[in-house]
Symmetry: C2
């Protein structure tokens, strides 16, 4: 883009960020240039380094700049527990909200043949090896309860067959503090069918 | 931040952008890393270059990587017209919405003694030179109609005293398509007082 001014290029480049339209991109560019160039330079440097150096953990497949991520490398995490999530963001959410002290396996998506995502793309063979290694005692499925998420869960259930472990799935139901009248019908029906004795 | 992972650093750095909170920053970081590293690298490169190379136009003070911006350097723009705006973003808005073909002067703010912004910070002396150079025939004040914007306009009116030009100010009133009942009282009173004969 040799004809475009650097300012226009910056605004265009900022639009690559999710949720950023032309107006926000312009606002961001002007803000950085007029108020906080140091932060802009820092962001540029960290982003360049992150895009190049961050890869996937050899053990759990989450995003990390090290060969093995901090969680997998932590000897105080319980290797008998393995939580299976779709995305690195799900791992972060569980780390922030719960006191789970086991390990993870990040699928990187869910089975979706129409989008060309099959067992190979999710590295399910690698997961199968983990499930059958004799170390894992409980595998917790924390995949979404969409059609594809359920298909993925079912597939993993098959994979775990014969392994000496308990396979569990996180509970789906009415969110805490959720008003029944505003919860969607599918969730409510699921919560109703999954009722537990007090 | 040697203890923080590169991912955490990236999320922190993204929060420097205006309107980006912790959740959006995390979403942006994961999106770039998982879906579009090329765009992330491009953004990092353009941002680093922009933060270093973009300065202010010698003539109008807008943001540009050249000594003189494209508008000031364009011989087809009318030097007899000078539009005075507060910010580079205001210049962009006028360029996009109007067919104005004159030049600009970007103040970089408005007079606000409490914030330490006086005539020197806005380079009003430089503006005075422009107003009295005999080339400008009409100076259009396109500053906001806030208390500080009005004070700035008044100050510039004083500066223009004795110059052989017409000083005008853009119209303030009810926005096009604006319903009277939803317009704030100040705007409505201003529009009423500024009514024109049809």
């Amino acid at each position: 883009m040799p004809d475009q001014s650097l300012l226009t290029q910056l605004i265009e480049a900022l639009r690559a960020l999710p949720g950023v339209g032309p107006k926000s991109a312009q606002r961001m560019a002007f803000y950085l240039l007029q108020r906080d160039r140091a932060a802009g330079r820092e962001l540029a440097a960290v982003m360049a380094e992150a895009m190049t150096r961050i890869g996937r953990c050899e053990r759990c497949r989450t995003l990390t700049e090290q060969p093995v991520c901090d969680i997998c490398a932590n000897p105080r995490r319980d290797p008998a527990l393995l939580c299976i999530v779709e995305q690195p963001a799900d791992l972060v959410a569980i780390e922030q909200a719960t006191d789970y002290r086991g390990l993870y396996f990040v699928l990187g998506g869910r089975l979706s043949p129409l989008d060309g995502i099959g067992p190979a793309e999710l590295e399910l063979e690698r997961l199968a090896t983990r499930l059958h290694d004799g170390v894992v005692r409980e595998a917790i499925l924390a995949v979404s309860s969409t059609i594809e998420g359920n298909a993925t869960a079912l597939y993993i259930e098959e994979l775990a067959r014969g392994a000496a472990l308990r396979l569990t799935r996180i509970a789906h139901g009415v969110p805490l503090g959720g008003e029944l009248e505003y919860v969607d019908g599918g969730t409510l029906a699921h919560a109703f069918a999954g009722r537990r004795v007090l």
